[in-house]
Amino acid sequence: MSAGLEISEMSVRAGGKMLLDGVGLMAARGLVTGLIGPNGAGKSTLMRASLGLMPVSGGRVRFNGADLLAMPGRDRARLAAFVEQSGGTDARLTARDVVLLGRIPFQSLWQSGPSPEDERIAGEALDAVAMRGFADRLYHTLSGGEQQRVQIARALAQQPQLLVLDEPTNHLDIHAQLATLTLLRRLAAEGATVVVALHDLNLAAGFCDHLVVLNAARLVAAGPPETVLSPALLREIYEVEAVVLAHPQTGRPMLAYGPPTISAAPPQ
């Protein structure tokens, strides 16, 4: 029984199309596992399917040995938290209200309001993303990046052992991007299992311990960044020329891109 997230033979079919075709991955506990691949590769589908948020055609998901798809949703929500890409709402909620949503899996039906414990945990979550000062601001008045951080705080409020994030750095400025990924590394170091889908390959290279590459609903490669991010893979999957360098300070892989290999003619 290995600790961490273990997905095997995951297949998802919808509308006659295979969105995922027998994909498997292993995200170990204590590590940050990055999920990369071109748009439409199936990253979002894989994350949702493994958390029981969408119907699967086949496959198994185990977390710390337990069958994640078989357990009741409430129990699953106490183990795993999911951060989506877009966090739009018409509801009139403050940032604190949104973070407190993360305490729902722990609240009994008869509870009249958040307990002091809930409030404390929410406060800590806001601190972790440096948004404490925004707690009483209305969520929809926040910028895209601020909203993203509040969503992460909400996930943290669930005190999850498994944290799954779908491109959480999209709207963030450089400082916030780096701060978020540093936070994720810290959480992993504290014992969580972190799975994060990323667009930016350099961020993936710089912050992930393990990378999983998807393309066209299939698993293409898996392993440490040094092994996975080869010029050959980048050429085949992303259709770009790149040189892999070593970061002067951290020694981690860094990519320097050349021009794209596809012709300059407009797509047909």
Partner: protein, 337 residues
């Protein structure tokens, strides 16, 4: 509004509601002194030894005014609650309690019973009509591929249109002058002539179903970011959806069968309350109920007293008053929107 003031809001509204009901029961076409009204109620409850008024006035107070004021409060509370729940469930600000074809179905059922001569059984006809319309709506939704909020809305619109067309046809074909008047006041919504026999199901319905919706409605906060987000928080989305849809439909069916299609309350009261309290459903749902109840108690009192001895269908007033009030609140809180 900051949290400490918000916490006082619900108790304050409750106090206002109770005061409103105590006052409303003293108003009406019959000229009875407030003290006599309260003493009579006290007498009936066994608290006061002698009734200060004659047999007929006692009947007016106990058999007409009291049940009517209670029904007005319950109806306002129930409609506002159903509206708030449906707006969150469908993530559609235009949702109201009659979403699943309920009021059109109820109207059709009521007209059919009226034309069959069973005028006194119109509430039953309305309830059956509402149930049939809802069943049809859900059937259509299933046939469209499964119950989702947008499919339910679309199915509800089409079933509503169908039922409304049927109602219009029947009215045109068979209704005579005097029964047309009856139907019209029912279509607009009226609490005229409500007696205890009708009040008790309404009060029971609001207490039981309202309670059910209040409790399950707390999970509605989770729906703020959509159903996937709610599911990721451990909410059983499918079960909750059925529970809430079923609960609101049943409660609305009961309310519509007694009061007709009273409009506006279910649609706008939640919005007004939301502007003040925010979207946390633990607060929004009970406060909406209180606000809806206060609103209905006063509009119904106006409907039966303002033009005495004439009686206006209360639905006219809820519509006339509702829109300007909404605009006023929107304006007041424009910095927030």
């Amino acid at each position: 509004m900051n949290p400490p003031r918000l916490r006082l809001f619900a108790p304050a509204l409750l106090a206002i509601l109770l005061a409103s009901m105590v006052l409303a029961v003293t108003l009406g076409p019959a000229d009875i002194a407030p003290m006599e009204v309260w003493q009579t109620i006290g007498h009936r409850l066994g608290l006061v030894a002698e009734s200060p008024v004659g047999r007929l006035r006692e009947a007016i107070i106990w058999e007409l005014r009291l049940p009517r004021v209670l029904v007005a409060a319950a109806m306002g509370a129930g409609l506002a609650l159903c509206g708030a729940v449906l707006q969150a469930l469908t993530r559609n600000p235009l949702a109201d309690p009659y979403l699943l074809g309920l009021s059109s179905g109820a109207s059709l059922g009521a007209v059919i019973f009226l034309l069959l001569g069973a005028t006194l059984l119109m509430p039953l006809g309305a309830f059956l009509g509402a149930g049939a319309a809802m069943a049809l709506t859900l059937l259509v939704t299933q046939l469209l591929g499964g119950v989702t909020p947008s499919r339910a809305i679309l199915a509800g619109i089409s079933i509503s249109a169908l039922a409304a067309a049927g109602t219009s046809l029947l009215i045109f074909w068979s209704v005579t002058a005097d029964s047309y008047r009856e139907i019209l006041s029912w279509l607009m919504g009226s609490l005229g002539g409500v007696v205890w026999g009708e009040a008790l199901p309404v009060l029971a319905g609001v207490a039981v179903l309202g309670g059910l919706l209040l409790v399950s409605g707390r999970a509605l906060d989770a729906f703020a970011f959509g159903e996937t987000a709610a599911a990721s928080l451990g909410v059983d989305v499918a079960r909750l959806r059925w529970l809430l849809l079923g609960g609101t439909a049943l409660l609305t069916g009961v309310l519509v069968s007694i009061g007709g299609a009273i409009g506006f309350v279910g649609l706008v009261v939640p919005h007004i309350v939301r502007l003040v309290t925010g979207s946390r459903h633990r607060l929004l749902l009970p406060v909406s109920m209180l606000a809806g109840a206060i609103f209905m108690v006063w509009t119904d009192t106006a409907a039966r007293s303002l033009f005495a001895p004439r009686e206006l269908p209360v639905g006219i007033l809820t519509a006339l008053l509702g829109a300007p009030i909404f605009l006023l609140v929107l304006f007041r809180y424009r910095r927030i929107t």
